[in-house]
């Protein structure tokens, strides 16, 4: 097991290097660089002279070929230095650190809610397959799925925030957050996170419920289930004690698959709710061509994705007795 882990981690490092190399080449090849953005946004009566442009390029390391610049970045990374953000004038590590917690807050809570809701729903749908209730529920879930998140976000903002005033409109904390007690602070963050988390989650309900159902349907037809039923096990017992565990493999795969999307997929919602997450930072950095930040974020996203895959593979060994690692 340990040697397997070590092998996986070493391979992951190689993968990370490959990915960052490819991504760096890609973003450097897109027209425009951080200086273009600077100039573009200034006062129209001010522009950068060519000499000044060259000087800025030199300072930001843009005058070298991108492979060399990449090598420098890797060299710094080995020293645990992620560099300085060009547009935000802060160390990249600090930028990411500030945004990691809000992102995780949103993603993890969304993931938890999804699983807590979808597994019972999926099981219920399996058991009641074909009944009117099940059809209605499925249809309702599909309706939720077909509503894009930004439409729902706006609607929720209008209803819950502007009209009813129950929830705050945007942001992660209120203006007087600093003065609150610990309980107050938790409650404040909870209120702010409710709408974004809801918008983030509702769309995936349909997908995961159906996923659970399709796996369960397959399992329910198996012989051992028929045997259990014949032996008089209650339907609930059949579903829970016998059938469900065998659907865990695909579910575990799903965990590994959903992690990447959770981390960077919230760009739209983060923009609408002014949620200080990594998704909007990524998007803004790409627009500003802030290469150090883009690379730092890519590294973090990829590392977390690979970690998720590793976790999924390890969980396989836990849930499926036929699988071992040695």
């Amino acid at each position: 097991m340990i040697s397997y882990l070590i092998r996986r981690i070493l391979i992951a490092v190689v993968t990370l290097i490959l990915i960052t190399f490819v991504i760096y080449g890609l973003i450097r090849s897109i027209p425009g660089d951080p200086i273009t953005v600077d100039m573009a946004q200034s006062d129209p009566s001010r522009s950068l002279s060519p000499e000044d442009r060259k000087r800025l390029e030199k300072i930001y390391g843009l005058d070298k070929h991108w492979t060399i610049a990449y090598g420098q970045w890797i060299g710094n990374l080995v020293r645990l230095e992620m560099g300085q953000s060009i547009s935000r004038k802060l160390p990249v590590a600090r930028l990411i650190r500030d945004r990691l917690l809000p992102t995780l807050l949103l993603s993890v809570s969304s993931l938890l809610i999804t699983y807590i809701l979808c597994i019972p729903l999926g099981l219920w749908i399996t058991v009641r397959d074909g009944t009117v209730g099940e059809r209605a529920l499925s249809t309702g879930l599909y309706m939720l799925y077909s509503l894009p998140s930004f439409v729902a976000a706006l609607f929720l903002q209008l209803l819950l925030s502007v009209k009813l005033g129950w929830l705050p409109l945007m942001g992660m904390v209120s203006d007087d957050y600093e003065q609150m007690s610990l309980l107050g602070k938790t409650w404040d963050i909870f209120k702010h996170a409710l709408m974004p988390a809801a918008c983030f989650t509702y769309g995936s309900l349909a997908y995961y419920t159906r996923f659970v159902k399709s796996n369960m349907m397959e399992v329910v037809r198996q012989d051992y289930v028929r045997t259990a039923k014949a032996k008089g096990v209650t339907p609930v017992g059949v579903v829970w004690k016998h059938a469900f565990r065998n659907t865990l493999i695909p579910l575990v795969t799903l965990i590994g698959l959903t992690l990447p999307a959770l981390l960077s997929g919230a760009v739209i919602l983060e923009q609408i709710y002014s949620w200080p997450g990594m998704g909007s930072l990524f998007f803004a950095s790409i627009r500003e061509r802030d290469y150090p930040t883009i690379m730092g974020l890519t590294l973090v996203f990829s590392a977390l994705t690979l970690l998720g895959q590793l976790l999924a593979d390890l969980l396989y060994a836990v849930v499926d007795p036929r699988v071992t690692y040695s």
């Binding site: 897109i30 037809r221 795969t253 760009v267």
Partner: protein
């Protein structure tokens, strides 16, 4: 006890599956809806447009509405005679003997119909609620929503197939090879899957839009397809890992069937069920992705009368409920239809269900 052995050839996997699929009314009606949408997509220029479906001009028959499909199919004689793409008044003026049959609804998906273009119909007002001339209302530029939705149907239907088609083909192939052969092939392919999984789609799309001269929605969808196959690959791989040890695989091998044939003729059919879920969802999701891209500013360039862009246009002004309701309903119907078909397919093709009915 020499009973007669049934020597009738079995009908084959697909024929049997179709037989079972037909028997269920819900997936069948869903299929009919999709076919209906396809018909609407093909007949779009005849349903809504400002070019005549068929007209006789200066003694010859023309089909200007074909211009909606391809520009060159709209005959250049109208250009030479300075129609400037306005048919009703010009036809009458330039040839009093001409006649024309216009589409069902005289509205254009790409532009606002102006005053006086056709008798008895005023120009479109921007942001108009549904009314007699604009069945689904108009958007902020005054372009008719019904016409946009009709002409956007082909995009809505195809866009999912393009992206999911690419994703499914790549994903199933990679996952099958990885799961079936194991050993170093699995290692390499798994790492390939991880590599592609880590690539941020946003960067790819931006790079594409910056580099390609004339990006269209199909380019965007191809990119989406090329990054979404990883999920399908992982699922396929998991299934193949499980199934390759079963007896019928060993039996097939003993019979000398080649590996590829085993993979795609024997194992795949049994692995199809869980894979169908992301595929059917993915087809429907493509429209939503297109809408999301529109929100971020990377929508397909005009003219692009798609449901996704309509939805995005509607979000800035919640008072124009028709911009959200009609495309939303259409998307919902498509999502529902595809998923019902998917469910039906799943149950029709799942061999274990077949067993359980005996």
């Amino acid at each position: 006890m020499t009973g007669k052995v049934n020597t009738q050839r079995s009908r084959g996997f697909w024929a049997e599956s179709w037989q079972r699929f037909r028997g269920r009314w819900l997936p069948m009606s869903a299929l009919l809806i999709v076919i209906g949408l396809a018909v609407v997509a093909i007949l779009a220029p005849a349903i809504a447009g400002t070019k005549p479906v068929i007209c006789k001009y200066k003694g010859r028959l023309y089909f200007p509405a074909m211009g909606y499909w391809k520009r060159s199919w709209e005959n250049p004689v109208f250009f030479q005679d300075q129609f400037y793409k306005r048919y009703p008044e010009n036809l009458k003026e330039k040839d009093p003997l001409s006649w024309a049959i216009y589409p069902l609804v005289f509205q254009d998906p790409f532009r606002r119909v102006r005053d006086g273009e056709v008798e008895g119909q005023p120009g479109n007002q921007p942001n108009a609620a549904p009314n007699g001339n604009n069945w689904f209302g108009t958007d902020q530029s005054g372009v008719d929503v019904f016409a946009q939705m009709v002409h956007g149907t082909s995009i809505a239907l195809l866009v999912g197939f393009v992206s999911m088609g690419i994703a499914a083909v790549i994903g199933i192939t990679v996952g099958a090879f990885a799961g079936f052969f194991g050993s170093w092939i699995d290692v390499v392919l798994s790492r390939l899957i991880e590599l592609v999984m880590c690539v941020p789609t946003l960067v790819l799309i931006l790079a594409l839009l910056a580099v390609i001269e004339k990006p269209t929605i199909w380019h965007l969808m191809a990119i989406i397809g090329c990054t979404r196959w990883t999920g399908i690959a992982r699922l396929t791989r998991a299934e193949f890992l499980k199934l390759k040890e079963l007896e019928y695989v060993t039996a097939a091998r003993a019979l000398g069937v080649g590996n590829v044939a085993i993979m795609f003729r024997h194992v795949l059919r049994n692995a199809l069920a869980p894979i169908l879920v992301p595929i059917t969802f993915g087809i429907a999701a493509a429209i939503l992705i297109e809408s999301g891209l529109s929100f971020l500013g990377f929508g397909a360039p005009p003219p692009n009368p798609s449901w996704g862009t309509l939805l995005n246009a509607g979000r800035t002004n919640m008072d124009s409920w028709w911009l959200v309701l009609f495309p939303g309903l259409a998307i919902f119907m498509t999502v529902l239809a595809y998923n019902l078909i998917g469910e039906g397919l799943q149950e029709a093709t799942d061999p274990r269900l077949r067993q359980s009915q005996h």
